[in-house]
């Protein structure tokens, strides 16, 4: 028996971001694998003290989650030799925040529901296998399945401090 071939690959995004305007942030991103760069921005509406020049951060977050799983569904359909004409997703992302007196609030996710519809003639069981594969392959889904992977450092006068 020949051993099963195993390939590993790394995906790295680098970001450089700077606050601008009242609540706007300008974020330059680079995908190290292809050296492709993307300029994105976030802002807040008047409701949260911003100028509404760009979507608030939760909008690109929701788009990223939905877009990532949809992308993997299509990429893996090809690999699994399934014909999927189109993918439709409706999603609802729900968070809750709690504020004591005038303290900064503390937030938590309540739940994210993705309702997926495949335009395909494949049986439901095959569709489910495809979505299971997409969930495991989707970098954002995989990220949300694991706690505490974000780390931080603060620039201090004496160098970077882990916080």
């Amino acid at each position: 028996m020949s051993p099963i071939s195993e390939k590993r690959f790394d995906i790295v995004f680098e970001a450089q971001a700077r606050s601008s305007g009242k609540m706007r942030n300008d974020i330059s991103l680079r995908f190290t694998r292809t050296n492709e760069c993307y300029e994105l921005a976030t802002d807040e509406g008047a409701f949260h003290g911003g100028d509404g020049t760009a979507p608030p951060p939760l909008a690109p977050f929701a788009a990223a989650l939905v877009g990532c799983v949809m992308t993997q569904i299509r990429a893996f359909a090809t690999r699994l030799r399934m014909r999927v004409r189109a993918v439709n997703v409706q999603a609802r992302l729900h968070w809750q925040a709690v504020q004591q007196a005038q303290e900064p609030y503390v937030s938590a996710p309540v739940g994210f529901q993705l309702d997926i519809e495949l335009e395909t003639d494949e049986p439901v069981e095959a569709q489910q296998r495809l979505i299971d594969a997409a969930k495991k392959g989707c970098f954002i889904e995989a990220t949300l399945a694991r706690p505490n992977i974000v780390t931080h450092r603060l620039r201090t006068p004496h160098g970077w401090r882990d916080i």
Copy 2:
């Protein structure tokens, strides 16, 4: 002693998304609190079989994470009566995928590092308190600290199936 007042509020984003083009996804978002809507898209470069008409999903994900914590730093600086002239963040988001033979690959986060620099005259300890508050208040950071909050349903001929 009077009880400490506690306020709770919900943040809900709704998305409707449809695949278009080879790997492009068009995503319409609505923030239910203000009824503001945002149109975002993702695509892939030629490397992953797309047309490069929009950033790949991990770009808005990275922008959302970085932008969210930067936004909360500024929002909470005001609340904590700290003066912060600007916020700069450098970030590196690293994932790894493993593929057996020609199977769909399985992905996992390796680590996300956020290097934060505040342009401020506040002492480092106050800056650290501010960032600690921003980490707890940031909806995306709070999301990444908790596993398994994404749920899925598949549209089948007999209705929605939990998957």
